[in-house]
């Protein structure tokens, strides 16, 4: 028994044991849960006397023997205390084809959200729309650098992409015209604040976009406190009817209504419920990314309250699901059976390697969150250049190169976290940002508990 990692926790009446390296999740009774505390360095077939001595007063002898035997069987089957033998796969973490692109179609925005990581749309670089010629070169770049990858993802991002919608359409047409010749399949996504949506745009988006991300924070007072129009008024009343119309017309197509929570709405369950009340069933509400100095930032101090809120939300979603009135909450989605392979899980998002962001000027950055940081500019679609050394650095950034991740039970679920967050908060893409880690771990605990509750 060596090099193993388990995570055990109790939540909502369930004793849960995650065997990290096999990915197995066990729901155990109290006796088995306690037995695990006594199994440390060696797991022998017959229950040792010291365990009987420790637990005999509380549990029948036969039960201890039986529970111990069941744990041992899991161990023998390789689904408990399984060893970490993934490290050799880190050698596979080399330069990959580029398959995902975040296209900054507009470095301009018609809202002035106070928490915007893009400096209210322009990423600190001046307001600008991407010309079609740059978009076209970006598509050519993506096709050329995608090797044998068939599925290519292109996200129209901003700023606000609808401020440059004609160019969005031109780029979609151009990309589609190249699919057959190069044996590629483009999947388009668009992230929008909704202000400029109308029926024509809605129909186009629903036809062409594989996924659409609609930004709305939940309750009117919460949304309007931070998501403001240029004149300072709230955006809720403008965008909600448009989002409802889009989703109504979308049918089964993928979408997310995506909100941000801050210190101002630590009771964000109420915002998730507001989005549900509005008729949205695909919802993501996520913690703000910001300088810790900002008055709305989620800091260490807020963590206990946020954890409590995640638990409240998980329990509420379970109740709703039992009544067949549930919704899908993005951060509680987990696939314990058919999720991504372990190799994918070694390095997560792929930024700077498989995934890049392109600005309106054609500059390439590792991802949208690095845009504007000059030292992270890694090439240009104009002259078809990419900094191979920097690409290699990102390609090699995997959980076995991040000491804190290597020893973390959540390593195969978040895969080393967000490199941009790591950079922003710790100045090193290999050093995970603790607050993000803690939030991710709590979400995972809730997500797994929800699976247990539905067993």
């Amino acid at each position: 028994m060596e090099n193993y990692l388990i995570h055990k926790y109790s939540l909502n009446g369930f004793n849960i044991v995650l065997d990290v390296h096999s990915g197995a999740v066990h729901i155990v009774d109290e006796l088995s849960y306690r037995l695990l505390d006594y199994i440390k360095n060696d797991f022998v077939k017959d229950c040792p006397d010291e365990i009987y001595q420790a637990l005999d007063k509380e549990y029948p002898h036969a039960d201890i023997t039986e529970a111990y035997g069941e744990l041992y069987k899991l161990y023998e089957d390789g689904v408990l205390f399984s060893a970490d033998d993934y490290e050799p796969f880190k050698e596979m973490m080399v330069n990959s084809p580029i398959k995902s692109m975040c296209l900054h179609i507009a470095h301009d925005c018609n809202l002035r959200c106070s928490y915007c990581f893009a400096s209210t749309g322009d990423f600190g670089k001046g307001r600008k729309l991407m010309p079609f010629e740059i978009g076209k070169k970006a598509i050519d770049f993506l096709i050329e650098h995608s090797g044998a990858r068939k599925n290519l993802e292109l996200d129209f991002f901003g700023g606000e992409p609808l401020m440059n919608f004609e160019v969005v359409k031109q780029i979609v047409d151009y990309a589609r015209s190249k699919e057959k010749e190069h044996n590629k399949l483009f999947r388009f996504t668009l992230t929008t604040n909704g202000v400029l949506l109308d029926d024509e745009k809605i129909d186009y988006i629903n036809k062409e976009m594989y996924n659409i991300v609609l930004s709305l924070d939940g309750r009117k007072e919460v949304n309007d406190k931070v998501r403001k129009c240029v004149n300072g008024s709230g955006s809720y009343d403008i965008i909600v009817p448009k989002f409802k119309r889009l989703v109504e017309k979308r049918g089964d197509g993928q979408y997310y209504v995506r909100g941000t929570f801050t210190k101002f709405n630590e009771d964000f369950t109420n915002d998730v419920m507001e989005l549900r009340r509005l008729g949205f069933d695909q919802v993501s509400v996520e913690p703000v990314v910001s300088d810790l100095e900002n008055d709305y930032a989620i800091t260490e101090k807020e963590l206990p309250r946020v954890f409590e809120e995640y638990e409240r939300l998980a329990k509420l979603l379970l109740e709703l699901k039992a009544k067949k009135e549930g919704i899908n909450f993005f951060h509680f989605m987990i696939d314990l059976e058919q999720g991504p392979c372990a190799i994918k899980r070694l390095r997560g998002c792929g930024c700077g390697n498989e995934y890049i962001a392109v600005t309106p000027d054609g500059d390439i950055y590792p991802c949208h969150q690095f845009v504007g940081m000059e030292e992270w500019k890694m090439g240009s679609v104009l002259d078809n250049t990419i900094n191979k050394e920097m690409k290699n650095t990102f390609a090699r950034a995997n959980i076995y190169g991040k000491q804190e991740c290597k020893e973390c039970w959540a390593k195969f679920y978040c895969s080393g976290g967000c490199n941009a967050n790591n950079m922003q908060y710790r100045g090193d893409i290999l050093k995970p940002h603790r607050i993000s880690c803690e939030l991710e771990k709590k979400r995972l605990e809730c997500a797994i508990m929800m699976k247990a509750a539905q067993l």
């Binding site: 197995a24 529970a67 992230t191 372990a342 995934y355 679920y413 978040c414």
Partner: protein, 48 residues
């Protein structure tokens, strides 16, 4: 088993055999753009 229920049958270790094809979605593209959650993604390997 009387004391234990196992939630899933898949073993992550088996997924390495035909893994690493790279066809699955970049995790940041799906909704978040500000965090990294990988375990909720679909495997898109056509040859597994």
């Amino acid at each position: 088993m009387k004391h234990i229920k196992t939630l899933n049958t898949a073993n992550l270790k088996k997924s390495t055999a035909k893994g690493g094809c790279g066809e699955c979605q970049a995790s940041c593209q799906s909704a978040c753009k500000t965090s990294c959650t990988v375990a909720n993604q679909k495997c898109e390997n056509a040859n597994k």
